[in-house]
């Protein structure tokens, strides 16, 4: 092979390297843009909890689960993921307001996503998962468990009911449940 043909091939390979580097850089810039400008970031809450006693005291006792409007008009919804159900199985959230979803599990690793949104997180025993989002479309959204957690995993799902703002009326204790209205 003559030398300049080898040079041609080298030049082509270097151009290709530059192109691929540009492509990867563009993708990373798009992700950074989405994070900084649109506030789309992976959930990164680091908070521990004792999985063995979370049902007995504290934030995730059964009476404290579901959606509650708290001080400062903050909407927080707490859900416990177990084998094989979410408790509660339906949460009501308002549209066009920041909602904080908090999850804990007493048993194995679960995961959730909410269809039609970017809400997607793992739920790991020993930790509290927290996701903030704004729901824009009203209606019932599906929230399945998306991390295999055992034989009943495929039947483990909940409903996120996005309610128009004017219909989102908390009770005197600030709680909102799905079957009100």
């Amino acid at each position: 092979m003559r030398a300049d043909t080898e040079q041609d091939i080298l030049k082509t390979e270097l151009w290709w390297t530059a192109l691929v580097t540009a492509v990867v850089t563009a993708i990373m810039l798009a992700i950074i843009y989405a994070g900084l400008v649109h506030h789309i970031s992976p959930p990164s809450n680091i908070e521990t909890i004792d999985p063995k006693t979370l049902h007995l005291t504290g934030e995730f006792t059964e009476g404290n689960l579901g959606t509650r409007v708290e001080a400062g008009d903050q909407v927080t919804s707490r859900v416990v993921a177990t084998q094989f159900a979410f408790q509660p199985q339906c949460i009501a959230v308002p549209a066009n307001r920041t909602v904080t979803l908090r999850f804990a599990t007493p048993d194995v690793i679960h995961g959730i996503l909410v269809t039609g949104t970017n809400v997607n997180t793992m739920i790991i025993p020993g930790y509290v998962s927290q996701v903030h989002t704004v729901f824009t479309k009203t209606g019932d959204l599906l929230m399945p468990c998306h991390e295999f957690c055992g034989l009943g995993h495929s039947q483990m799902w909940a409903t996120v009911r996005v309610v128009p703002e004017d219909e989102f009326k908390p009770g005197p204790d600030g709680r909102v449940s799905c079957d009100a209205r």
Binding site: M1, R2, T5, D8, I9, T12, W16, L19, V20, V23, A26, I27, A30, A34, H38, H39, I40, S41, P42, P43, S44, G116, T117, N118, V119, N120, V131, H132, T133, V134, F135, T136
Partner: protein, 67 residues
Amino acid sequence: MALAPHPNSSSQVPPSTDDVVDEAALERVMREVPSGALALSLLTVGLLLLAWFLMYAFVFLPRGMVG
């Protein structure tokens, strides 16, 4: 009538040893191959990149803030 053996059948005729490579022709071929591969690669990566950006713009960003 017996079939005449195929002239290139290895059982009948020893293999040809006239295997000289035409260097000029080889040169021409070698010069062309990278640009063909490049065109295919650019097309493939281009389509994948387009698909990625379409999903990004029409699915990911519209699904709104999360964090």
